[in-house]
């Protein structure tokens, strides 16, 4: 008995299809194109539609929750028409957001209750000063001090020699109506305030007062240019750390730095990187670097030592000791930063050799230090750093993941910027990929999230085995033997912006496996060491420069993240720079970071071979112990059947 059925999509004209047709086929007839990155295999969930009237048969409900089904959702490629139906196609962009956490940096929420007057240490103070006269012979500086005391309640203030040389002229140029930029001293009761700058005019209230939060990563440096008055972040820039030319990892940098003739080279490179980023941010926000009056810097211990040109050799060898952990207060001119020369540069505190200010700041901004919930906070960078705990206790450890997740150390890796492949789906029958490129257009390489998605898809499609070996016997031009044994071509030269093939090689896969295994092993050992089973974690907070774009299910499929319900994961983007930003705005937040640093307990992973064991068992897709990843096992089985 063949019969046809009427299918109606939203307001489009109804189409007739035979029994057994899929909604995808019906949609095509109706002239509606549905996203199908996975090629209609029911795996990606992108073609979800809502059945408004009638019934369809769902061949697969993978991707749909009970609730979704209850509300009538179905995957068009898996929905078989057996009667008349009326279908709603939701806007497709919205759906992507359900799958990819796209917490882009474009809008940073200003911390609740931020009050410039109360919390900010750098203040712009308009002054009307009584001019001197024969009767009032007070000197210029005392006159300025008196005015600051009367206007802003600043009792004690110091001034630098270069400023002292200028104030007489400025006061008179402004006809005694001037604006002072002052660093107050709330956080340091005994210290005095400092006069940073003086202008012979009064500024409009809307004019921003600039500050900058800086995260120095081993691979990536990030800068947030902030209006200290409103708290708004007006430009964010990121770039590879130029130190990379002298080594991809911290150890290479330390070794390079400890050679006599290299003294200061790495400091110069990182400062150049920061200055470049500040320059770029200023262009975007129409600001000038010398108008930036405050900076807060975070980074791992080694990056901070190198920034300040402090010998870091003792961090490398046992017993791994930092020269300093405490927060530091430095001036921009001491570091050749292009900020205002008098601008304070606050370096936040570190905990141990491999637990730096990026983590103490991250613990603040992620909220782990304020929650009752048992929380795992991961900061994934070249070093994977992690914190387990809650507001009462925190343990932390670090492991070396390598730069793969930042797109470095991989043949066709790149940062997550325009032209980077950030998402991949592979058809399990044809092995053809379907990619999404940041900014659209032709791809130039693969960023961290693209690499994670690619590895997950290669695994699910059967292109690589659980050990990461590429199956070179597959009948597809995408798989071939290259310089590093097997490789898979994600995009052929003709499809790329630079006219070269984009591939992932066996060695790249090994690097990715090691990176994910190190991170997984790190938090497994941390959790076991303390006695908190992974499945009792109430939330997992993820930071890192890849964390903005990562796709949680792909990360679970490769065994990077634990197999927990998706809603337990929260992606926070770059938590380090966010923590720096909080400290930039609020002196109390800065004190809070100091408290957090004092509360963290550092666990050295090299103390026994528990880490090694955990690492070896994680060096597999998704893991040697498959029972840890039940949903991935199920998915793989369904994929093989389908």
């Amino acid at each position: 008995m063949t019969s046809t059925h009427k299918v109606t999509f939203d307001n489009a004209a109804p189409v007739e299809v035979p029994t057994g047709a899929t909604l995808t086929e019906a949609a095509a007839l109706a002239g509606i194109v549905l996203n199908q990155p996975c090629g209609g295999q029911g795996r990606c969930g992108r073609c979800v539609v809502k059945v408004q009237q009638g019934e369809i048969r769902r061949r697969s409900t993978l991707r749909l929750s009970e609730g979704d089904i209850g509300q009538g959702y179905a995957l068009a490629c898996q929905a078989v028409v057996e009667g008349d139906v009326s279908i709603h196609v939701p806007p497709q962009e919205k759906l992507e957001r359900r799958l990819v956490t796209d917490l882009t940096a474009s809008s940073v929420a200003i911390p609740d209750g931020y009050c410039y007057a109360e919390h900010q240490t750098v203040q712009r103070i308009p002054l009307r000063i009584d001019p001197p006269s024969m009767e009032d012979q007070t000197d210029d500086w005392s006159r300025l001090q008196r005015s600051l005391r009367q206007t802003a309640g600043i009792d004690k203030i110091s001034i630098s020699l270069p400023m002292l040389r200028k104030i007489g002229q400025i006061l008179r140029d402004g006809d005694w109506e001037v604006t002072a930029i002052v660093e107050k001293s709330q956080s340091r009761e005994t210290d005095s305030a400092r006069l940073l700058d003086l202008f012979p005019i009064h500024f409009p209230k809307e004019k921003p007062l600039w500050g900058v939060a800086i995260d120095i990563g081993t691979t990536t440096v990030s800068v947030w240019l902030t209006n200290l008055i409103t708290g708004q972040v007006l430009a964010q820039t990121a770039e590879y750390n130029q130190q990379i030319q002298h080594g991809e990892d911290v150890i290479s940098r330390i070794i390079y730095d400890s050679k006599e003739h290299n003294e200061g080279v790495l400091q110069k490179l990182v400062i150049e990187t920061i200055n470049k980023l500040i320059e770029r941010a200023c262009q975007r926000a129409k600001a000038k670097p010398e108008e930036i009056y405050k900076a807060v810097v975070v980074g791992n211990s080694i990056m901070l030592h190198l920034l300040l040109n402090i010998p870091a050799a003792t961090i490398r060898t046992s017993p791994f000791i930092n020269v300093f952990n405490e927060s530091q207060h430095i001036l921009a001119r001491e570091l050749d930063l292009t900020l205002h020369p008098e601008a304070p540069v606050e370096v936040l505190p570190t905990v141990a050799s491999y637990v730096g200010a990026d983590i103490t700041a991250g613990a603040l901004s992620s909220g782990i230090a304020d929650t009752e919930k048992t929380t795992l906070f991961l900061d994934v960078g070249t070093n994977g750093e992690m914190v387990l705990g809650n507001k009462d206790w925190m343990v932390t450890c670090a492991c070396s993941a390598g730069p793969a997740f930042e797109g470095a150390g991989v043949v066709d890796g790149m940062r997550a910027t325009k032209g980077a492949i950030e998402e991949v789906w592979i058809n399990a029958d044809t092995y053809e990929p379907n990619i999404r490129v940041i900014g659209g257009g032709k791809p130039r390489g693969l960023c961290g999230s693209g690499l994670i998605a690619l590895l997950a898809e290669l695994f699910l499609a059967g292109v690589v085995d659980k050990s990461g070996n590429i199956n070179t016997t597959l009948n597809t031009p995408r798989v071939r033997t290259g310089a590093h044994e097997g490789e898979y071509v994600v995009a052929f030269a003709a499809e790329t912006s630079h006219g070269k093939d984009i591939v992932i090689t066996h060695v790249d896969i090994d690097n990715l496996l090691r990176a994910k295994a190190a991170i997984f092993a790190g938090y497994v050992v941390l959790a076991e060491g303390v006695g908190v089973p992974l499945n009792t974690l109430e939330q997992v907070l993820i930071g890192g420069s890849f964390g903005q774009y990562i796709n949680v299910e792909k990360a679970i499929e490769i065994g990077l993240l634990p197999d927990l319900p998706w809603e337990n994961f929260h992606f926070l983007g770059n938590t380090a720079v966010r923590g720096a930003y909080y400290a930039l705005l609020n002196w109390q937040s800065k004190q809070r970071v100091n408290e957090i640093a004092g509360k963290m307990t550092y666990i050295e992973l090299s103390a026994d071979n528990a880490f090694y064991d955990a690492f070896m068992s994680a060096l597999f897709l998704p893991h040697t112990d498959l029972s840890l990843f039940p949903t991935v096992v199920k998915l793989k089985e369904q994929n093989q059947q389908g």
């Binding site: 085995d465 659980k466 050990s467 070896m616 068992s617 060096l619 597999f620 040697t624 112990d625």
Partner: protein
Amino acid sequence: MALELPKDKWSGSVQEVVIGATAADGGTRTAAVTVGGETTMPFVHFEAETPNRPVLALEIKDFRPNDWSTLLLDVWGEATNDPGAWAKAAEEAGADLLLLSLSLTDPEGNPNTPEAAVKAAKAVLEGSGLPLMVYGPGQAEVDNELLVPVANACQGERIVLGICEDKNYRTLVATAMANGHLVVGRAPMDVNLSKQLNILIKDAGLPLDRVLMDPTTGALGYGIEYGFSVMERLRLAALRGDAMTQSPMSVNVGFETWKTKESKVGDDVPETWGDWEERAISWETITAITLIEAGADIVILRHPESLKRVRAAIDNLITAPELS
């Protein structure tokens, strides 16, 4: 007072594996060998009996080996020039099964050929009715080139093909599947790597009752403690129900011990090492018994005297003791 014996409750067991096929099962072997099936840590009789004894294999070569200790060449004598005769001698020496390990080159240094490998395997099958294991020379490409024709030629004999490693297992698994054979997988002294290899082999389609694992053991004095612990851990995992660690364990004690200085040479060694031959045999025996205590199911040896001594220990180990 009567003690309550400290029995552990295990949920899993070692996979039972049959090597070799008799005429009734489509082969020509006089008897098949069954290994595995244990439900306790090794020989803990008060929990359960040991269903299958650890079996002993003797290793023979397709060509007289130029890198073996003269002690071994002397004890096997002329038989080393003829794999069929060597197989017969090994059976007479009391082996339960045979390992034919193929050479990389013939005695003249020419690369070994598939024809020669098949001929050697046939000769061994004719020389002895024991079940057979066949290993390639240990280079992925050569192994595949030699073992595939051997597997074809021995179809139905239920031989063990080796050695699968994580970078080279597909070909051997495919030919084992096509010809009704078994494979042995070897991982370098790590519980996780052994388990991972088993998963890969199973994913490639071979049922687990046709898989053996060689955890790589080291020899006495050369890493045996790692092999010992990896084996104990694998057995514990198997008993706890982890299916991917339940393959019977095959250990190549002959290979491991006869490359040590203690066994291989008699000259230029410290006087405190004592008599060469007895030392070499002890080295092989101590290594074998240690690994049997850790859970070895198949022990491959080279010297007939070692085999005799290890067999005596096994004979007693597998019988339940009287607990007075």
